[in-house]
């Protein structure tokens, strides 16, 4: 488990990867840019799922904060004329953190399936409220005005590119921040809680408070993912809080693995591409293709796609020795 800081190349590799993705986005067709943008935004939510998974907690309700972030951005734009992306991001964080700070008091008391079900229940409560809220478009949701960027108000392809680049920068910054967090004592405490809660408590840490903190951090990241999705799609609806959306985030977390900060983004990219091409070539059975993909990962790569890197490095070490 000990990761020598000298050997940890995660941040420079991430920087290169995000720079490559941003460069690709600047040259790629619109549909591909959109696909990458959604993958990155979803990757942020999965990052939140991963932070909780490291502490042994599976959230089947991360859609709650994804939806709150989206609706916060959408409502600020539609009802108050606030369109600046940075202000929208701040609002998304504030709303998500405020709700998570309150709900987290209860969530931190539960573990395992009870945590999963309670998180799902909270997200479905929001779904139910939004479906009944006619002022918010009920099941149809409502459109989100075009975002602006510190006074810069692009449209068309320029808007898409600007939003995409902003998504890249934010995802990179958050990935680095969460990477630092997971390598700090508090990050390790998450793994420690998963392994032995009693010892953590007897070392002088409140397990409930540590879980509460992780829950709030996960909510903040997911809220940002929601804001970026709202900006990219230009529309929000209650489906963002529906349990299948949350289930998809867990799906991606399992697909990518929890071994590294890059895993959620890799998982999100793979899911979006598999879904897109499965829908293109097998429109009647695309869900089956996704299911088969998941089954294959669980059977052959229980540690997710990221575990491939460990297998490769072990194979290389064997060759060298």
């Amino acid at each position: 488990m000990t990761a020598s800081p000298a050997k940890d190349r995660t941040v420079p590799v991430l920087a290169l990867a995000f720079a490559a993705v941003a460069l690709l986005g600047a040259m790629a067709p619109g549909w591909l840019v959109f696909l990458m943008q959604i993958s990155l935004a979803n990757g942020l939510v999965v990052l939140g799922v991963m932070v909780q998974m490291r502490a042994g907690l599976v959230s089947f309700g991360q859609g709650l904060y994804f939806c709150l972030g989206s609706y916060a951005a959408g409502m600020a734009g539609s009802f108050f004329g606030i369109t600046d992306a940075f202000v929208l991001l701040l609002l998304g964080i504030l709303v998500s953190v405020a709700v998570a700070a309150v709900l987290g008091l209860q969530m931190a008391r539960y573990r395992e399936i009870f945590f999963a079900m309670l998180s799902l229940a909270f997200s479905m409560v929001l779904y139910g409220l939004l479906v009944k809220a006619e002022v918010l478009g009920s099941t149809d949701g409502f459109n989100v005005p075009n975002a602006t960027f510190l006074g810069y108000a692009p449209s068309g392809d320029d808007l898409q590119l600007a939003a995409f680049l902003l998504t890249c920068v934010i995802c990179f910054a958050l990935a680095v921040a969460i990477h630092a967090y997971l390598h700090a004592t508090m990050g390790y405490i998450g793994d420690a809680i998963r392994q032995n809660e009693v010892r953590v408590e007897f070392l002088g840490v409140s397990v409930e408070r540590a879980i509460h903190l992780k829950y709030v951090i996960a909510a903040a990241i997911s809220g940002i993912g929601g804001v970026l999705t709202a900006i990219a799609v230009g529309h929000v609806d209650p489906g963002l809080a529906y349990w299948t959306t949350s289930g998809e985030f867990v799906f991606v977390a399992l697909l990518g693995g929890t071994g590294n900060i890059a895993a959620p983004f890799i998982g999100a990219f793979v899911l979006e591409f598999v879904r897109t091409y499965a829908f293109e070539y097998s429109p009647e059975t695309w869900q089956m293709v996704l299911g088969a993909t998941m089954l294959a990962v669980i059977l052959f790569l229980p540690g997710g796609l990221w575990s491939l890197t460990k297998k490769w490095s072990r194979a290389r070490e064997r060759r060298e020795s």
Partner: protein, 267 residues
């Protein structure tokens, strides 16, 4: 000797069962106290109450004059009362060094700073050295033998110079050939730290060798609280804790009653 820990009229009920009844104990700073008693006598319940794992049904616990009865384990640990467990409580997927680094990071309140830093690693290795665990630093805990796990459990509990350490059967599950070495190592390390030690132990040799004082439990009550020689001579202790027929020869000579050494052989 200043009193560091005091239990007054402690009682712990589990439904109709009274696990600990009217316990009064005063612990002086720097003492090494052996706690003995048969299974179910109330020893671990007493340790659990002192460390906040259980809240007494009635009675009070004072640490350095402060009432700590209602505090939770986290708060009590921060005050300087640390403990180990009958079954070592570790992080099995981490390496031995990472276990210590987590404990050190928490003890030093470095929650948001990188855990694996040169100064922390040096401090962690020093802790492992005190407990003779340096050679296992990079091993994953799940691969360690029982005795090594026990030592690591105690090392985790004591990374930040605790004031009192409560050891719950530190040698249980450890082979006969290992246990004396284990006790020697850990008592030397705890003495270096200047900690007051209370340890539950079933091996009377280990009690005799290290304890300044013995507290004997029977049926939830303290039946003896005295230096080892005196406690072992107590009739109630001999009958309910040690077993009279197992009483050791050197002690019988001390009492001058001329009992045969046959009991020593059987021991």
């Amino acid at each position: 000797m200043a009193v560091i820990l005091e239990a007054r009229n402690l009682q712990m009920r589990f439904g109709a069962v009274v696990a600990v009844d009217d316990i009064n104990v005063s612990v002086g700073e720097g003492e090494v106290i052996g706690i003995i008693g048969a299974n179910g006598a109330g020893k671990t319940t007493f340790v659990n109450m002192v460390t906040g794992y259980l809240t007494p049904t009635s009675g009070q616990i004072f640490f350095e004059g402060r009432d700590v009865t209602a505090l939770d384990p986290r708060q009590i640990t921060r005050l300087g009362i640390c403990r180990s467990f009958q079954i070592a409580q570790l992080f099995p997927e981490f390496t031995v060094l990472d276990n210590v680094l987590v404990a050190l990071g928490i003890a030093k309140r470095r929650f948001f700073r990188p855990m694996v830093r040169p100064d922390m690693v040096t401090a962690g290795l020093r802790v492992l050295e005190h407990y003779g665990l340096s050679e296992h630093a990079e091993r994953t805990v799940s691969t360690l033998p029982q005795g090594t796990r026990k030592l690591l459990d105690i090392a985790l509990a004591t990374v930040e110079d605790p004031k009192i350490v409560l050891l719950d059967e530190p040698t249980s599950g450890v082979g006969v050939d290992e246990k004396f070495g284990l006790m020697k190592t850990l008592m030397a390390a705890l003495q270096n730290q200047g900690a007051t030690v209370l340890y539950i132990e079933h091996d009377m040799d280990l009690i005799e060798r290290y304890a300044h004082r013995v507290i004997a439990f029977y049926d939830g009550k303290i039946i003896a609280d005295a230096p080892p020689a005196e406690a072992f001579a107590d009739d109630a202790v001999r009958e309910f804790v040690i077993g009279a027929e197992l009483h050791r020869q050197p002690k019988t000579e001390d009492y001058g009653n001329g009992e045969s050494s046959a009991s020593s052989d059987s021991c």
